[in-house]
Amino acid sequence: MSIQEDDFDIGVEHLRLKSAGNGVGAIVTFTGLVREFESEPKSTDFQRNLSTLTLEYYPEMTEKLLSEIIQQSFDRWPLVAVSVVHRVGSLKPNDQIVFVGVASEHRIEAFQAAQFLMDYLKTRATFWKKIEADGQSHWAEAKVSDNVAAAKWEG
């Protein structure tokens, strides 16, 4: 698990998961990218050109939360390895933001765990996005759809 300003290399991350142990039959990865267009909050048609995305986090607490989320994924599914990388600082359109990779014996648990990790990361890990678009900046709003996605893993 890593929180870093530097970019990450999917090939390197994938190789690490592939080499994680005997019996890996499935690797699922998720990569989140900065999109070039930013929908106006509360509007579906007006879009603005994003110039910079700045990611803030809470040092130490964010690492601890990510570790807990990763631990939960191991508690829920028989996984061989999990890798999470989240970038912070200043990013540009098409930059990579986040990587989640899961290696397991079979594909079902790898897909499930990767989705779980992303849903929990999106709603529980202390990162905040500031968006600069068309010369104005605002903090991103939390999405109801992310809370709905995370809620389905409860209970």
Binding site: Y58, T126, F127, W128, W139, A142
Partner: protein, 83 residues
């Protein structure tokens, strides 16, 4: 001394408010500190009172009536938007 941290959108409202409080023996909670901050900035007070805002003491999420001690760090956390 209790240090205060404001993240995300909350940091936009903290220009003129205290970033720390002396803890002079009295029993202190994040709720009391929120009330003190509201006296300094009504806008910040409103933001902190949003039900989705969480509070962490020494990097652990706690309830608003958690007792804080000298040397503690209180962080006010708006809904997260990473990933």
């Amino acid at each position: 001394m209790i240090n205060l941290l404001f993240f995300g959108r909350l940091s936009e409202f903290t220009k003129d408010v205290s970033q720390s409080y002396e803890c002079a023996g009295e029993s202190m909670t994040p709720l009391i500190i929120r009330e003190k901050l509201t006296l300094e900035s009504k806008a910040l007070g409103q933001e902190l009172s949003e039900p989705q805002v969480l509070v962490a003491v020494n990097k652990m999420i706690v309830k608003w009536d958690h007792i804080v001690r000298d040397g503690d760090e209180i962080a006010f956390l708006p809904p997260v938007t990473g990933g």
